[in-house]
Every structure is written in structure tokens, then in C-alpha cells.
Amino acid sequence: MSEILWAEKYRPKTLDEIIDQEDVVRRLKQFVRERNVPHLLFAGPPGTGKTTAALALARDLYGRNWRNSVLELNASDERGIQTIRERVKEYARTVSLSEIPFKLIILDEADNMTSDAQQALRRIMELYTATARFCLIANYPSKIIEPIQSRCAFFRFRPLNKEDVFSRLRYIAEKEEVKVTEDGLEAIWEVAAGDMRRAINTLQAAAALGTVTAETVFKAVGMAKPKEITEMLSLALKGDFIGARERLRRLMISYGLSGVDIVRQIHREIFGTRSGLNLPEDIKVELADLVGEIDYRIVEGADDEIQLSAFLAKLVLIGKRMRTGRTK
């Protein structure tokens, strides 16, 4: 039903279908043969097949009714200790109904769990090993506390190489009867690199515009980016602080972007060759430093709108300096 989004439609369903990450797949298949699984920790950059491998493992292990034996949670959405205590514990303690004597709990984006929640999780992992196995998925395994890491079998997922991404994209394009040019593929690689999900998403968006060429790819990517980011920056540089702040509010409230999302997009915009801001080199460096500081402050717990407003105020000043010709 959801098969309409290609990233989902062409997600490998079984371990056999996964062509990359050979080491990982070989070890996982061994678990399936033994019908026993330790606690798992999957680590690696986005779009390298961590979630796919976890779901494929579940299917191979439990068969058709795999959903009855698997709890899938995304820790960035439910990162608090409350969820761990209630949902996970409740699920972990009840006995499995399948032939496999344990259930599988997939905790995606586990590195976004609070440390309190991780401590609670550690206890649950110990107490309910007989009835539940955990598969933790993380981009940054170092953000998982040591005691949990040491209880898990560790799997590292590597970014996909270009040939594998291209051959997958060609396969999908053929199935979907979409024309793809070579420079179209190169453009997707520029946008997504080894992130397969992003690559497929970009392919689908560009295909909605017609033949997938470098032009349609960049056009789709440009359309997906909120125009308010560039507007906000150029308004501030022109001296219109109030207009810039209004864009900022639109980004945060209407688009639902977090301060960190916006900070990262600003960073991309400063150095992006396609942004059209045309900043002098020394200003780019000065701004990068400033953006880094704002990023740190927000992650540390400061308020995003205030910190970004302060950043915009600085931009107004820099803009004035640029116009009057003083560099410092």
C-alpha cells in the first residue's frame, strides 16, 4: 500500500535481497540459521541499509507473521524514559507466541535517546533477555552508553559505493519506466552520495518532472529546499532584519524545522555554489564560525529563535560593512 514511495517499494525484503554490506549480511544469516539472535547494535551513516537489514532479519526469522513478534520504535520521536519504561518493558516481558522463543525490539535512531532512557533500557535488556532481543540502530554509536554497547553484537554499515547506487537506481528506473541520463545519475550522486534512501527519493522527485537529467535533479532539489532560507539570509544582508526574522518564524513554525535544521541549511547555503548569495571569501569563513557557535548553543539547550535572531542581527551588521566597503 505504501509501495508508492520508491524508497519503500524497492527496499529489500529479505537478507538475500540485500546486495551490499556482505559481512553484515553473512553474519545475520548465520543467526537466522541458528534461530538465535544476540542483542544487536547497527551503526553507520544514513541510507546504508541499517533499518532494511533489521526488518529483513525479522522477516527471515519469523516468517509471514513477523509483525506479531516485532516492536518497531523510533527513538527520536519517543526518546524519553517514559516510553522505554512503559512500551518497551511491557512488550519485552510478555512471552513470544511464535516458534522463536524471543521477540525482537527494533529501536531506530537509538543514539537520540536521552541518557536516562538508555540507563533504563540497559536494565530491561538484562532482565528480559529470555523473552526479548534488541536491535539498536544508530548513526553515531559513540552516543550509546558503554554498558549497552558491551551487551550488543556490533555491526558497522559502510556508505554505499557509486557503482552499487547507480545500478540500483538504473534498476528502479527501468521498472518504473523512467528515463535516466548519465549526468542525471551523477547529479543524484552529488546530492546523496552513499545515502541510498536519499538517492532513491531524489530519483523519484526528479522523475516527477520528466526525464531524470542533471537539470531535473537540481530543479527538484531546489524546489524541495524552502526558499525562505535564502530569502532570510539575503534580506538580513540587505539590512531588513524584521523581514528576515519573519522568514525565520515561517521556517520554524510553518515548515516545522528545528533550529539545528535551519543552522545546517544556512551552513550549506554559505558555501553552496548554487546559493547565489555571492559572499566574499573572508565573510564565508566568518559566518561559518558564527554558525558553528549558534549550532553549539542550540544543542546545548538555548532557544533556537533567539539565537538565530542574534545571528541575523550580526548578518545585518556584516551586510552594512560589505556595502560601506570596510572588511573588518
Binding site: A220, G301, A302, E305, A313
Partner: protein, 445 residues
């Protein structure tokens, strides 16, 4: 509620006898205007001043129409346009029209709105016009004692409008209630009048906000609404004190004089900083201070170490106040828009959350990923290819409002809806046909 004109407009006096209060000032103004009949008087301009809502604009309009003058009205933004100015100057130096009317009055309203630095040109333009004018000129301001008005003050006759007293305001309010068919408890009207502190406009606005569409008005109705305005009034005063503070100590003392709590005051400062500080240097320095205060607030929240609070307050009061390099200028402070926006967009944000939840579940990603990565992508598809968009919308079971969250464009949303309902009809027909043959799975795309 249907679209309604503000009562302040609907019941604005048209005749002089309808104007309440300030009899002395009115007589003064009329005397000055009549003196023009005997030739150009010594003072060619009047600076009409007084707190907001005392009837400055109304009075000028009423007098002009009563004495048959043509009124040429300008506000701060008109004065910045030089083409506009030239037109006025030509009119100002020409003598009154020959067609019945006695002549023209040039009226510069809300000259406080012009800042001392940016619009210095504007203010001296006004002075220049007064110099060459052969027609009466009236200006209106809240605070005539601002140093930037010195030249204009010297050239003008100053006429002060006082705050209206409670009885005067009550008289206007009860007349409006009668015309609107509202049975109002005099005690309720007295309460509104008292809260307005002599500002008739705010009293009428309050009355409309509370009483429009009702048959009755009681004291209880009034009480709930007015407490909020009272807090706003307090915020105006506090901000004015803060932004005009001369020393760090003065600025620091301000919070203790306010009934606002510090985080509300923080939002007020944040909202109004760019209106108060127009100079980029000032604005940046003030925001640096505010951002530092915010960092302290973050640390307090994380560590629950409340002894840090005093540093945060230092930064947001003294830190913001000492950023000022130019003299204080009058600003009409605004209620923090962030708070308004958050409450106004609550429904849309809830819908967006639902859409994200649905996407997240379908494709095994977090709601955040759905929001930041998938919704923009779907927008591209929906807007550039509504046909495919419709299929996706159907698969995700999105309703009209949800589709609109993604497209952000009602027209495209409608188009997609048309296609989805068409798809559904075709599907029904297909399933009828195929029920006779073997069942087939629906084919997408």
C-alpha cells in the same frame, strides 16, 4: 462573526458637537484657525500633542470639515517619498482654492513615527514646508518633548489634548451601546472606562471586543478580558523604561517594577528590539546580550541551578539597555508575535504532525525525518505532477487538509483531490469487472 468595521471608525465623530472633552484645546485650535482669515498669523503651524486615544486625528478631521477646509493628510512614510513632498509643497505655497472652500490644511499625523536619525531629512523637510507655507499646518505627536522635535516646536503653537476623564468616556461608550442595541450595566462601562486610563480609542476597542454581538454586558464579561490589556499596558511602560534607561542600574531595576514575569518580558524585548534599535550596531549588540541571557536560561533549565537567574536578568535588562547609542525614540510596541503565531498555527501544526506520523510509520523513519526530508520531497512531486501526487495521497490516506499541508497551495490540492476521486471511481468499476474474472492487484503508475 461577520466582517465588521471597527467601532472606533464607525462612531468617529463627524461634527464638532460630537467631540467629547478637551474644550479648552478645541477653542484654542479654532481661534488659531480663524486668525488665518485676517492674514498669515505669527505661528503658521500647530503641534497638537497628547497621549494616544485623546482624539488628535479626529479633532483635525472634524475641524477641517466643520470650517470647510480641504485636508491634505500625510504620515511618516509619505514624507519619505520626495515626489509626494514636491506635490505638497506646490499646494502649500498656492493660496486657497476659489471653489467654495476656504482653503487647505496640511496635516502631518504621527510624527513620532519618524526616527531621529533615519528621517532627520523628513523632519527638516516639514520645517522647510512650514517656512514657505501660506496655508495652516497641523502636526500630531504623542511626545513633543523629544529633542528631535526642537526646531518644529519652536515654529509651532503647542496645543495639548488631555486624557479624557471617566465620565466622558462612559458617555461615549453608553451612546455606542444604545446604537448597537446592547443593554449595558453602567458598572461594566465604568470598568472599561477606568481601565482605558483616558484612552478613548482603547476603551472603544475594548467595548467592541467584549460586547459586539451581545444583547447584554455585565461586569463579569468585562473583567476577564481587561486583565490582559492591563498586562500589555504594563509591558509598554516597562519597555519604554528599559529602552530609555541611562545606566545599567536603572535598567536592572526595571523588572522589579513590573508585574510581567521575566520570560514574558524576555519575549516582549525580543519582539520589539528591531523596532527600537534601527542602527545595526545597536541591534547586534542588544541581541548578543539577549542571546547570552537565553544561554543562561538554558543552563538553568538543564541544571536547575536558579542562582544563575540573576545573570540572565542582567543580560536581558542592562545588557540590552546599554546597547543604545542614539537617543531614545518613541515606538509603538507590539505584542510578541511568536506567541500569537504559535496559537494561531496550532491546528496546522497538529495536522502536520499527523501527516509526519503517517509517513514515518509507512517508510520506517522518524517523524523528524518525515518533516524535514520527506514533506519537501512530496511537495515537489505533488506540485509538479499532481497525477502521481494523487496516487501517493491516496496510498497515505491523506485528506484535503493534509494534502494542503504538503502542497501549501489550495489550487493544487483541489486538483489532486479531483484526481483521487476519479481514481476511486475507476477502481470501483475495475473491481466490479474483475470480480467476474480473476482478481487482480491494483497497478500503480
Amino acid at each position: 462573526m461577520s466582517v465588521s468595521i471597527p467601532w472606533t471608525e464607525k462612531y468617529r465623530p463627524r461634527r464638532l458637537i460630537e467631540v467629547v472633552g478637551n474644550k479648552k484645546a478645541i477653542t484654542e485650535l479654532i481661534t488659531w484657525l480663524k486668525s488665518w482669515e485676517k492674514g498669515t498669523p505669527k505661528k503658521k503651524a500647530v503641534l497638537l500633542y497628547g497621549p494616544p486615544g485623546t482624539g488628535k486625528t479626529t479633532l483635525v478631521h472634524v475641524i477641517a470639515s466643520e470650517f470647510e477646509y480641504e485636508l491634505i493628510e500625510l504620515n511618516a512614510s509619505d514624507i519619505r517619498r520626495s515626489a509626494e513632498l514636491d506635490r505638497i509643497i506646490t499646494r502649500a505655497i498656492s493660496i486657497g482654492s476659489l471653489f467654495g472652500r476656504r482653503g487647505r490644511i496640511i496635516f502631518f499625523d504621527e510624527i513620532d513615527g519618524m526616527s531621529g536619525t533615519e528621517d532627520r531629512g523628513g523632519l527638516s523637510k516639514i520645517a522647510e514646508i512650514i517656512g514657505i507655507s501660506r496655508v495652516p499646518i497641523i502636526m500630531a505627536a504623542n511626545d513633543p518633548w523629544d529633542p528631535k522635535f526642537r526646531t518644529l516646536r519652536d515654529m509651532s503653537l503647542l496645543i495639548r489634548l488631555n486624557r479624557l476623564n471617566r465620565n466622558e468616556i462612559m458617555r461615549v461608550l453608553s451612546r455606542i451601546c444604545m446604537r448597537e442595541g446592547i443593554k449595558a450595566d453602567p458598572a461594566a462601562l465604568r470598568l472599561i472606562a477606568e481601565f482605558s486610563e483616558g484612552d478613548l480609542r482603547s476603551a472603544i476597542n475594548d467595548l467592541q471586543a467584549i460586547a459586539q454581538g451581545r444583547k447584554m454586558l455585565t461586569v463579569e464579561d468585562v473583567k476577564g478580558v481587561l486583565s490582559r490589556r492591563n498586562r500589555e499596558h504594563d509591558a509598554f511602560t516597562v519597555l519604554k523604561l528599559l529602552f530609555s534607561a541611562k545606566t545599567a542600574e536603572q535598567a536592572k531595576a526595571i523588572l522589579s517594577q513590573s508585574s510581567l514575569d521575566y520570560d514574558m518580558l524576555f519575549q516582549w524585548i525580543h519582539e520589539n528590539l528591531p523596532y527600537q534599535y534601527r542602527d545595526p550596531e545597536e541591534l547586534w549588540q542588544a541581541y548578543e546580550a539577549l542571546a547570552k541571557a537565553d544561554i543562561y536560561f538554558g543552563r538553568i533549565k538543564r541544571t536547575q541551578n536558579w542562582s544563575l537567574l540573576s545573570y540572565a536578568i542582567d543580560m536581558m535588562t542592562a545588557g540590552v539597555a546599554i546597547a543604545r547609542k542614539h537617543p531614545y525614540h518613541f515606538v509603538k510596541y507590539r505584542f510578541p508575535q511568536r506567541i500569537l503565531l504559535l496559537s494561531r498555527t496550532r491546528e496546522a501544526r497538529r495536522l502536520r504532525e499527523l501527516v509526519c506520523e503517517r509517513i514515518a510509520k509507512q517508510i520506517h523513519v522518524s517523524k523528524r525525518y518525515a518533516s524535514v526530508e520527506m514533506i519537501p520531497l512530496l511537495k515537489v512531486i505533488f506540485c509538479s505532477n499532481p497525477k502521481i501526487g494523487a496516487k501517493i495521497a491516496k496510498a497515505l490516506e491523506l485528506n484535503e487538509d493534509m494534502i494542503n499541508i504538503i502542497t501549501g497551495d489550495r489550487r493544487i490540492t483541489k486538483e489532486i483531490l479531483k484526481i483521487t476521486s476519479q481514481l476511486e471511481r475507476e477502481e470501483r468499476r475495475e473491481s466490479l469487472k474483475s470480480s467476474r474474472r480473476r482478481p487482480s492487484s491494483p497497478l500503480f503508475m
